[in-house]
């Protein structure tokens, strides 16, 4: 680690296609032509050292593929990916000690063994001497609030605890770059909040974090910069404040018992993108501009409507707006 690169991640024209050879038809020898799917399409991206970088995109956008390539688990079809200046395809022995990886979900642990045994195993795999490994394991268990259950089998753990253990596992090699793939999926709100606190601590320690998510609030809250990705294509890298603006700009207002005349007036408010009325007479107002939802809300309140609420748009809706307004071509 003598050479230090200011860039934790540097990716250029990175493409990965999966070729799936389809199974033979029963009783026949002829194979159907192979099907190919592009998971990453010429992505270029840099993440400076010390940054918390979000990869935001819906399921199947290619986020996990990028995580796998950066953690040396998957080889790209073309393009270059470097971690702290080392090529992930060739220089695996240089890259691996620098990277900690936490792939989402509950899998990946020895469930019959205890949390401590699992961490000791991984600390050996990350080449730590036994005594240091034991010390580091104890510290991580404490840090992640698992010390009381440290010597119980992982199969008795709740989902949130398993997720914390995964994070401890990712940290066991003291990585400079931590790759977190959908780390909060399936966590209850309290556990997700604790997790965010931890990410902030890790950032304060100077670690670089690459975090994938499809939760815009999470991306806005945690990240220094956010890259939007969809169907394998990079849509752009944004300041998280921009995402905050989208969230409020495309807020939705839902109300019940709105008179028809008032609905007409709402339609005419500037920035209202559309009004939908469902079979029970509930209306959903989509807005597309700063302050629009406030104007709609005050109209409704003035009109005597009391049953109303606002909600943030989903990632898919934001994409629709973005693609619509910028004319992005998303395959």
């Amino acid at each position: 680690m003598t050479e230090s690169s200011p860039l934790a991640v540097a990716v250029a024209d990175l493409t990965r296609t999966f070729v799936r050879s389809r199974s033979r038809l029963p009783g026949r020898l002829k194979r159907r032509p192979p099907e190919s799917r592009t998971a990453l399409d010429a992505i270029t991206l840099t993440v400076p050292s010390g940054e918390v970088h979000g990869l935001l995109g819906p399921n199947g956008a290619g986020k996990t593929t990028l995580c796998k390539i950066l953690s040396t688990v998957l080889i790209p079809t073309s393009g270059i990916a470097k971690v702290f200046g080392h090529d992930v395809v060739v220089s695996t022995t240089r890259v691996r000690p620098l990277v900690g990886v936490v792939l989402g979900g509950e899998r990946g642990l020895y469930t019959r063994l205890t949390a401590r045994q699992n961490l000791m195993y991984w600390s050996a795999l990350y080449r730590q001497p036994t005594s240091e490994g034991a010390e580091r394991t104890a510290k991580l268990l404490e840090r992640l609030g698992l010390e009381e259950r440290a010597d119980e089998r992982v199969e008795t753990f709740s989902r949130g605890m398993k997720q914390r253990l995964h994070l401890a596992r990712g940290l066991v090699g003291n990585p400079r770059l931590l790759i977190l793939d959908e780390p909060t999926v399936g966590l209850d709100p309290a556990a997700a909040r604790d997790f965010r606190g931890l990410v902030r601590q890790l950032r304060a320690e100077g670690r670089t974090i690459l975090l994938t998510t499809h939760d815009m609030t999470e991306a806005e809250e945690l990240c220094d910069r956010v890259t939007l990705i969809d169907s394998g294509k990079l849509l752009g890298t944004e300041d998280p404040r921009t995402i905050g603006e989208w969230l409020s700009a495309w807020e939705r207002v839902t109300a019940e018992g709105v008179p028809a005349e008032l609905i007409d007036r709402i339609r005419k408010v500037e920035g209202v993108a559309g009004v939908e009325i469902d079979s029970e007479g509930r209306i959903t107002v989509e807005t597309a501009g700063d302050g629009t939802s406030a104007a709609v809300l005050s109209l409704l309140v003035d009109g005597g409507v009391t049953s109303l609420s606002t909600s943030r748009p989903s990632l898919e809706e934001v994409y629709l707006h973005l693609i619509g307004s910028r004319g992005l071509n998303v395959g």
Partner: protein, 256 residues
């Protein structure tokens, strides 16, 4: 590297203690011993007592190679650990081979186990007139078995049909390996086949080490065990390499 190997071996012990499935063969061993010794006693062939003690031990050593070692990579894959292992700075082959070595070492405990069953339940203490040959052959068998196991571990991940036939490998191997009946007593047409199975050389040597008579041609026979077992290691290393290539190239090790 040695530190990693030792850590993996220690880990394997911890993992096995929690997995009745992995230790099943050691639990079965006394019953196999009872069955073979009952046959010896019923037929009045006391001269075969040594055979009846060696056979269940060899069955155990192979069964653990097949069921515990053979499933190491396959289990890591199904439980989502294989990718994490690939991402770690440790060479996967070293990890897998260290764990297999530990399993094989534990499986050799069955030799003592079966000897004790004969001593305690049947009052027969099997003597070992050629102790060095006995221990040396066991070591060679252990080595060769670990090599065979590494080949199976790779094979069970790479091909689906291999996993289907996993259960079918045991008894053919026991026959060809001369586990109980010496290869010389098998039908003529089977004998050439036994020559390429390392265990047939090993079990013959073990049986020879239990008889008073001087043993002929020790070195070439031990060499046969080691060379055939070494082929297993080469095959295993190559298959594990293939598994890793497949993981990194295709994203998964889907069944062919």
């Amino acid at each position: 590297m040695i530190r990693l190997a030792l850590a993996m071996a220690r880990f394997q012990i911890a993992a096995m203690r929690r997995s009745p499935h992995d230790l099943m063969a050691l639990v079965n061993a006394p019953l196999f011993t009872v069955i073979f010794l009952a046959i010896v006693r019923y037929t009045g062939r006391d001269d075969l007592t040594g055979y009846a003690v060696l056979a269940p031990a060899m069955i155990t050593v192979f069964a653990m190679a097949l069921l515990a070692s053979g499933e190491i990579i396959a289990n890591d894959r199904t439980d989502g650990r294989l990718e994490l292992l690939v991402a770690s700075p440790s060479p996967v082959a070293v990890v897998v081979l260290s764990r297999i070595a530990m399993i094989t070492l534990v499986s050799l405990v069955s030799v003592a186990e079966c000897w004790l069953v004969a001593r305690v339940l049947f009052g027969k203490a099997v003597a070992v007139p050629h102790p060095w040959l006995f221990v040396g052959t066991l070591a060679a068998i252990g080595l060769a078995m670990a090599g065979t196991a590494s080949a199976m571990a790779g094979l069970f991940v790479l091909t689906r049909s291999a996993r289907t036939f996993q259960n079918s490998l045991s008894y053919p191997f026991y026959i060809l390996g001369g586990v109980l009946v010496p290869p010389a007593l098998l039908p003529e047409w089977l004998r050439p086949l036994t020559q390429v199975v390392f265990l047939s050389w090993g079990t013959d040597l073990l049986r020879d080490s239990l008889s008073e008579a001087p043993v002929q041609r020790v070195l070439p026979r031990i060499a046969a065990v080691i060379v055939l077992g070494g082929t297993g290691f080469l095959l295993g290393a190559w298959l594990i390499h293939r598994v890793l290539l497949k993981v990194r190239n295709d994203g998964t090790v889907s069944h062919a």
